[in-house]
């Protein structure tokens, strides 16, 4: 079922990524980790559909997605630059019931994000905060440089909260001055072994490009995490 979504606000996260706040009357609500399909229809009837992770819990029929601008993309440049406040697109969802975090589930949660893979994991972090959950959360966020972090101000604020998630960054191209880790791709040493939460067995959510997900999932298995508790979402080539 396709619904009409109207753009009501935007926020720039980085020079290449923009959050779109969409008003979707009748939206049934969603869980952190779910996505929405966005459909554009051209005047000649041509249609293009893309999936985007929902970035935040629903707020009075308002849903948020964060779109990374892909220079030669068919859909993302229109969503980030062509869509004006008041313009409408069609959305279908929420979709996906596997890569989701349900508040109240036992066990700590390890989130591992590669680049724009932070979006569905941020939705889980925001959902945790919205319901006042004390579930131990730990985020490892791999990103090229500090300036390419999405939600940077909010993450910095969460890092200062006593019951906020534990945050760690893996910089792959340039690390900030004073960092004790050289810029390099993520590896097993960047990921904590299981048993860190003291709250039952941890569940891992890994989201990023396919190669990133493969490396992280294999490292988590070698650390001893139960493969059945490692959930992955790959951002494939057709996702833009």
């Amino acid at each position: 079922m396709w619904r009409t979504a109207t753009l009501v606000a935007t926020r720039d996260e980085t020079p290449d990524a923009r959050t779109l706040v969409l008003d979707v009357p009748g939206w049934p609500g969603h869980l952190g980790g779910q996505h929405v399909d966005v459909r554009l229809t051209a005047e000649d009837g041509y249609q293009a559909t893309r999936s985007y992770s929902l970035a935040a819990p629903v707020d009075h029929d308002r849903v948020e997605v964060t779109v990374q601008r892909v220079a030669d993309g068919e859909v993302s440049p229109y969503l980030t630059d062509g869509l004006s406040l008041g313009d409408a697109v069609e959305v279908r969802g929420p979709a996906g019931g596997w890569f989701v975090w349900r508040p109240g589930e036992p066990g700590g949660v390890l989130l591992v994000a590669g680049g724009s893979g932070i979006v569905p994991l941020m939705a889980m972090i925001r959902a945790r905060r919205a319901v006042g959950s004390a579930t131990p959360f730990r985020l490892i966020y791999s990103v090229r440089s500090p300036g390419e972090r999405y939600y940077a101000a909010e993450l910095d604020q969460l890092a200062d909260e006593a019951d906020g998630p534990e945050l760690a960054y893996v910089y792959t191209r340039s690390a900030p001055a004073g960092s004790n880790r050289e810029a390099a791709r993520i590896g097993a040493a960047d990921l904590p072994p299981p048993g860190w939460s003291r709250d039952g067995e941890e569940t891992c959510f890994v989201c990023g490009p396919t190669s990133f997900v493969e490396v992280v999932a294999a490292s988590l298995v070698s650390h001893g995490y139960d493969p059945r508790r490692i959930k992955a979402e790959r951002f494939g080539p057709s996702g833009q």
Binding site: D37, T49, G93, A95, G96, T210, R234, G236, G239
Partner: protein
């Protein structure tokens, strides 16, 4: 086959057009190698006239989903069964 794939999470929206429950959390069994796992863990190739989902263990096709102007085709030849959580 290439590394140009997504995972079964990408099937959630299209399958929503057919089924009342989320099928990506269903556990399927590959008819070729017998591996079981969530539909969300399949490897999905979208550069075809539809979506082709392959077993992450053996690479054989488990599910094909093609939409035409008037119908949706769902081919589950490669899947022995689906266990759907309720």
């Amino acid at each position: 086959m290439t590394d140009d794939y997504q995972d079964g999470n990408a099937l959630a929206g299209p399958l929503q057009e057919i089924f009342a429950v989320d099928l990506t959390s269903a556990v399927g069994r590959c008819s070729h190698c017998g591996l079981t796992g969530a539909v969300a863990t399949l490897r999905v190739y979208g550069r075809a006239p539809g979506l082709v989902a392959r077993c992450p263990g053996c690479g054989e096709v488990m599910l094909r989903l093609v939409q035409s102007a008037h119908s949706i085709w769902l081919d589950l030849t490669g899947t022995v069964r689906l266990q759907i959580p309720i």
